[in-house]
């Protein structure tokens, strides 16, 4: 390090400042459920290898926005999305983009743990199996083990991989779901209030996990709890009544937000 010239250091720092690469870009995103409009022209970008938290009172549209990122809204009858959402610069609503492929790249973890009524092993192997990611049994075993390790579940379940995933505790189930999502090796993981059904200890465990996963994945998390957003995220976006109020570094949002509404929400004046 010492041999680097001052100029080189300067340049490197500069590069770091400008080297904000955006994994996903949302431009003027609006969502309609039938005649009802749920999102109003949201412009929000997701940085690579960053945890972005979406906060706001219930019904503010944060989950709706999250679900547009891997087109889970497609499964809802009468749902319509306008605007542009891009993953690595490609519009994901473009007809040439395949939704299956998209979801293999943008995985999702849901509010309530939803392990399949299969064995733990099969739960994790499900994604790689349907996408044909493992050619041999050994490869599959490796994927399962690595995913469970990344989800911090390996030590707890390695001796009972053939037992049903629904037999685990709530917190373990949610980590299993995370392992299941990780097993597909997605680039982005969307988490929709992943801890709302968990007790505080399980929540702490999952938060720790999110922290670790950041190294390899881009994470967008919807959360109801401002403390959680403050703990796990680097960037925070505040939604209110279907609109994006502001988006900034988490520290800034929680200490000195630009918008009065964010201030009020964080102070607990509404929500």
């Amino acid at each position: 390090m010492n041999i680097l010239s001052e100029a080189a250091v300067e340049k490197a720092l500069d590069k770091k400042m400008n080297d904000v690469s955006y994994k996903m870009i949302g431009q003027d995103v609006s969502v309609y459920y039938g005649d009802k409009r749920a999102l109003y022209d949201v412009n929000l970008n997701v940085r690579e290898n960053t945890v972005t938290a979406l906060i706001g009172p219930s019904g503010c549209g944060k989950s709706t926005f999250l679900r547009t990122l891997n087109r889970m809204n497609d499964t809802i009858d009468g749902c319509r999305v306008t605007g542009r959402i891009a993953l690595d610069g490609d519009d994901i609503y473009d007809p040439s983009i395949d939704v299956v492929e998209l979801r293999a790249r943008v995985g999702m973890v849901f509010q309530k743990p939803n392990p399949f009524p299969k064995s733990i092993y099969e739960n994790v192997a499900y994604g790689p199996r349907i996408h044909g990611l493992a050619r041999t049994r050994a490869e599959m075993d490796a994927i399962v083990e690595k995913s469970l390790q990344r989800a911090g579940l390996w030590n707890e379940v390695k001796d009972r991989l053939q037992e049903s995933g629904t037999g685990l505790s709530g917190g373990q189930q949610q980590r299993l779901c995370i392992a299941r999502a990780v097993a597909v090796s997605p680039e982005v993981i969307l988490m929709d209030e992943p801890c709302s059904a968990l007790d505080p200890i399980a929540t702490a465990r999952v938060e720790e996990l999110i922290h670790e996963l950041r190294a390899n994945f881009t994470i967008v998390i919807v959360t109801h709890s401002m403390q959680q957003a403050a703990r796990v995220s680097q960037r925070t976006a505040m939604f209110h009544l279907g609109q994006l109020v502001e988006e900034n570094d988490t520290d800034k949002i929680f200490t000195n937000p630009d918008d009065q509404r964010t201030q009020d929400y964080i102070m607990g004046r509404f929500g």
Partner: protein, 494 residues
């Protein structure tokens, strides 16, 4: 006094009781209705209930008990020689006595005297009054008939008095008990509750009735034909004997019937299960709500069509069609235009039954599939699975127990189905494996054995009850097991 007149009188007492009770309550209240525990109508109802219930109870006891009592008294008065005869003959005798007694009522006193003097004249005389007799009555019968007539008249008089007395007494007692603090409403509601309990126990009574009635007759049958010959016999040949003959030399083997039942049911399930399941999957997972709202009721129309219509469809359209098409195929292949599918065959019956069962499979499975939580589907779709992968790998395995239950229920319907097989399966009880040949089923044989003249003493008739109870137990077991599975399944996702 006729029963209907008696009932009318009792009803009149009841109405009077209601009015009386109502008035008395109002009078006791003296204009301040709030001093009464219940509204006056309840007092009236209470009096009416007390008038009606005991009277009707007495009447019911009489209706059941008096024929039994009178019958046994009259029979014990028969000459000893007659009493030594077999039960069936005795019944015939008693029936003739009853007929004579009915005729006696139509006769003038002089004519009665002639009959008492000369039993042989009775037949002609009575038939001129519109009461035909099967044979010339024996002298003891005329005497017995006169006894019967006398006893019936007396018992009628007694019951009239008893019923009226019970109604009046009940009404008076209840009327006198009317007081402001009497909890009339609670009592009336107590009687209503008892009525509700009674109504719900009809379900149990029906089951008991089914089991008891069939078991009695079946036991009767097994006293003539050994049970193992029935359950393990491989030949069905009941040999309809001439009426009255007690020769039970026929063979009653259940196996060929059971084989036919299961074979036809199997063919039906072969049609209904894939079609019904795929239809259910499409309805539950793919169809737009608009498509669903049109197609689902249309498919369910198939379940609303009476089975006799399917039977006729099989008999008049499908059977001949299969026969002709097989003749054409055979002709193309071998040059001989002989049909190898018979119009009445396992295939015809099974196929049409399968169509009938499609809506059962589809709507039961549709319910089960829709009950799989959305979260599981989202979980799979969120990982990038296609819809069909989600269905095949997540939804169906999760719904499997429920679907198995639904299929078992459908199978029990296939086994118990009657009209399609009666018209389309044939009557030949054979054991063979060719689906193009006719076979017969348990239900067909129940119908065959019980249509026409019946005699409740011959094994040819009674075997139907043995078949019936077999059918009942098979379907009962299937259903109980299926309900158990489905209930477990639902609890899992609630």
């Amino acid at each position: 006094m006729s029963i209907s007149l008696l009932l009318l009188l009792v009803a009149a007492i009841g109405v009077t009781g209601y009015v009386g009770g109502n008035r008395r309550a109002q009078a006791l209240a003296g204009g301040r209705l709030s001093s009464l525990h219940s509204r006056p109508g309840y007092y009236g109802s209470l009096v009416a209930i007390w008038a009606l219930l005991p009277a009707i109870a007495v009447l019911l006891v009489w209706i059941v008990a008096s024929p039994v009592y009178i019958g046994s008294t009259i029979r014990s008065g028969f000459p000893e020689a007659v009493q030594a005869e077999p039960q069936a003959t005795q019944n015939l005798n008693y029936n003739m006595v009853g007929a004579i007694a009915r005729g006696l009522k139509l006769l003038t006193p002089e004519e009665r005297a002639t009959i008492s003097a000369d039993a042989a004249a009775a037949r002609a005389l009575l038939s001129s009054k519109g009461v035909p007799l099967a044979a010339d009555p024996a002298p003891y019968m005329v005497e017995a008939a006169q006894n019967l007539d006398r006893m019936t008249t007396t018992s009628r008089m007694i019951v009239t008095v008893l019923v009226l007395a019970a109604a009046l007494a009940g009404a008076v007692v209840a009327y006198r008990s009317v007081a402001p603090r009497l909890r009339a409403r609670n009592r009336v509601e107590g009687v209503m509750l008892a009525g509700l309990v009674g109504a719900s126990s009809i379900a149990i009574l029906t089951t008991i009735g089914i089991v008891a009635s069939m078991l009695t007759e079946a036991v009767h049958f097994f006293s003539m034909v050994p049970a193992w010959e029935f359950f393990f016999g491989t030949v069905w040949d009941p040999r309809f004997a001439a009426a009255g003959a007690t020769d039970s030399s026929g063979q009653f083997g259940l196996i060929p019937l059971l084989a036919g039942t299961l074979y036809i049911g199997f063919v039906a399930m072969l049609v209904a299960v894939p079609v019904g399941l795929f239809a259910a999957i499409y309805m539950a997972e793919y169809a737009s709500s608009h498509f669903r709202s049109v197609a689902k009721p249309l498919i369910e129309v198939l379940a609303g069509i009476p089975t006799i219509v399917y039977g006729f469809f099989a008999l008049a359209s499908v059977g001949p069609f299969l026969r002709d098409i097989s003749a054409q195929l055979n002709g193309l292949a071998t040059g001989s235009y002989a049909s190898f599918i018979q119009a009445q065959s396992v295939l015809t019956a099974g196929f049409v039954m399968g169509i009938m069962l499609i809506p059962y499979v589809s709507s039961l499975s549709d319910d089960i599939i829709t009950a799989v939580p959305r979260a599981l589907r989202d979980g799979s779709l969120g990982l990038g699975a296609t819809r069909s992968e989600t269905i095949k790998r997540v939804v169906l395995p999760a719904a499997l127990p429920g679907i198995v239950g639904a299929l078992l229920m459908t199978a029990s319907r296939a086994i118990g189905e009657t009209m399609i097989v009666v018209l389309a399966a044939g009557v030949a009880a054979r054991m063979q494996l060719n689906p193009f040949e006719p076979m017969t089923t348990v239900t067909v044989k129940i119908v065959n054995q019980l249509t026409g003249d019946l005699e409740f003493t011959s094994p040819q008739t009674l075997v139907a009850f043995a078949l019936g109870i077999t059918l009942f137990f098979i379907t009962l077991c299937l259903n109980i097991y299926a309900l158990y599975i489905v209930r477990k399944y639902r609890e899992q996702y609630e």
